[in-house]
């Protein structure tokens, strides 16, 4: 109550750290793009592996997906940052170790999205293609994937939006993203209210247009 009455907002001071903010924003975007792209590649590879009829191939992929879906992302980030280098007995660059957990996490979800898109295509499409004499590669490329990618796009955009927000967890391993940059500015200015409000607004400004775009995409795919 008292705070609300006497508190004098001062965004000017907080926003004067332009250089730091810009760098933080850049780091957030870089990790988002990098881990989403990496996860997408993993998702396509693992999604295709799941279609192989050998259990020796599908079972490890299933375990990978389940491990990353059923453990908290924060634990994964910390584990890959602090524990993996001990297991491997190698020194990994900080930026790389920090992004590893995020990438593999995105990969697990992308795998499911990819697999879901493919198996959503009617069985008749497969049998009609095979009956025409198409090989597995031909029917995948010309018949299944063109239809499946359309259905994969909306869930993939949604997962990417979540992924961008998740990069804020890099805060715990001291990667100077938006969130961590905010905490540095707080310790300099003692202005947590303005700083963390600014951080939230920054995420919102990036993501809100993306969600609008995702909604439009979804409406178009549904046609």
């Amino acid at each position: 109550m008292i705070l609300a009455v006497v508190y004098k907002w001062d965004f000017g001071l907080v926003l004067s750290y332009t250089h730091l903010w810009a760098k933080g924003l850049g780091v957030t975007l870089a990790y988002s793009v990098g881990t989403i792209a990496g996860g997408m590649i993993i998702g396509v590879i693992c999604g295709l592996l799941l279609l192989v009829r050998s259990r020796w191939v599908t079972l490890p992929v299933h375990y990978y997906v389940e491990i990353f879906r059923c453990t908290p992302l924060l634990v994964q980030i910390v584990w890959f940052y602090y524990a993996l280098p001990i297991v491997l007995q190698v020194e990994l660059p900080d930026w790389f170790a920090a992004g590893l957990g995020l990438t593999l996490y995105m990969g697990a979800f992308a795998t499911e999205i990819f697999r879901g898109g493919i198996i959503s295509i009617d069985k008749g499409q497969w049998q009609a293609s095979r009956a025409l004499g198409m090989t597995g590669g031909e029917l995948m490329r010309h018949i299944i994937l063109p239809q499946a990618t359309k259905r994969m796009i909306p869930p993939f955009v949604n997962q990417s939006i979540i992924q961008l927000k998740n990069t804020s967890l890099l805060y715990v391993v001291a990667i100077p993203d938006l969130m961590y940059t905010g905490s540095i500015i707080v310790s300099d200015t003692f202005r947590p209210l303005e700083v963390y409000t600014s951080v939230a607004i920054a995420y919102f400004i990036i993501l809100y247009p993306l969600t609008l775009w995702a909604a439009r995409l979804e409406a178009r795919v549904d046609q």
């Binding site: 009617d122 008749g124 009609a128 095979r130 009956a131 025409l132 004499g133 198409m134 010309h142």
Partner: protein, 262 residues
Amino acid sequence: MTSSSEVMVKVEGLRKSYGNVEAVRGVSLEVDRGQVVVVIGPSGCGKSTFLRCINLLEKPSAGTLQVGDRLVDFGATHSMPRGRDLARFRARIGMVFQQFDLFPHMTALQNVMSGPVIVKKMPKPEAETVARDLLAKVGLAAFTERFPRNLSGGQQQRVAIARAMAMAPEIMLFDEVTSALDPELVGEVLDVMKQLATDGTTMIVVTHEMAFARDVADQVLVMDAGQVVEQGRAEEVLLRPQNPRTASFLSRFHSTIGERKA
């Protein structure tokens, strides 16, 4: 049709089981070039499974299958073709399905071109000529640019027939192709099939259309519980069935079979 009776398909002792259930129990059949074979029988009798075994959409458990000069022996361990070899085997056999299964992201024309272009690597202009001719033949010259969703069931099924024919198959398989159609659309599809038969296309047709069997079939195969219970020339099987099970199955259709005899 042709004077020399060249055998196009020869099936011997074909069996197909799913676990403990045997859907096809030792079916044999010989189809000459230009012949139309109609397979009838109650639903669940294994006639569709039998048909799907012929282009190896189902892998038979036992027996032999010869299409053209290619013999597959399912008793032998490694005779089942795989990969590209299997694809080539299927490319010589056309198949049309109950649910049409057209490619929804392609126009009617692109659907018909898909086999020649993707499988045979035929140049597109050439494939387009083939496809336009076939679409005209099935009465859809004016619908080449339509997507499947903008075509009626009967039109879709005719595109599907043209799509299969575009591969210039040695034999055509029809799996209950009119069962999913509204009654008033059945005729247009059957007319196309009759035309193919007249043109000398070798066909195996699984159907419930007894009038079609009577008018078009050279040979009728009656299946029940996975076995052939009667087999022979159409008029003999349909009008003078020897087997009581055939007789009882056909009695349900007698008005249809006899209608043009009156």
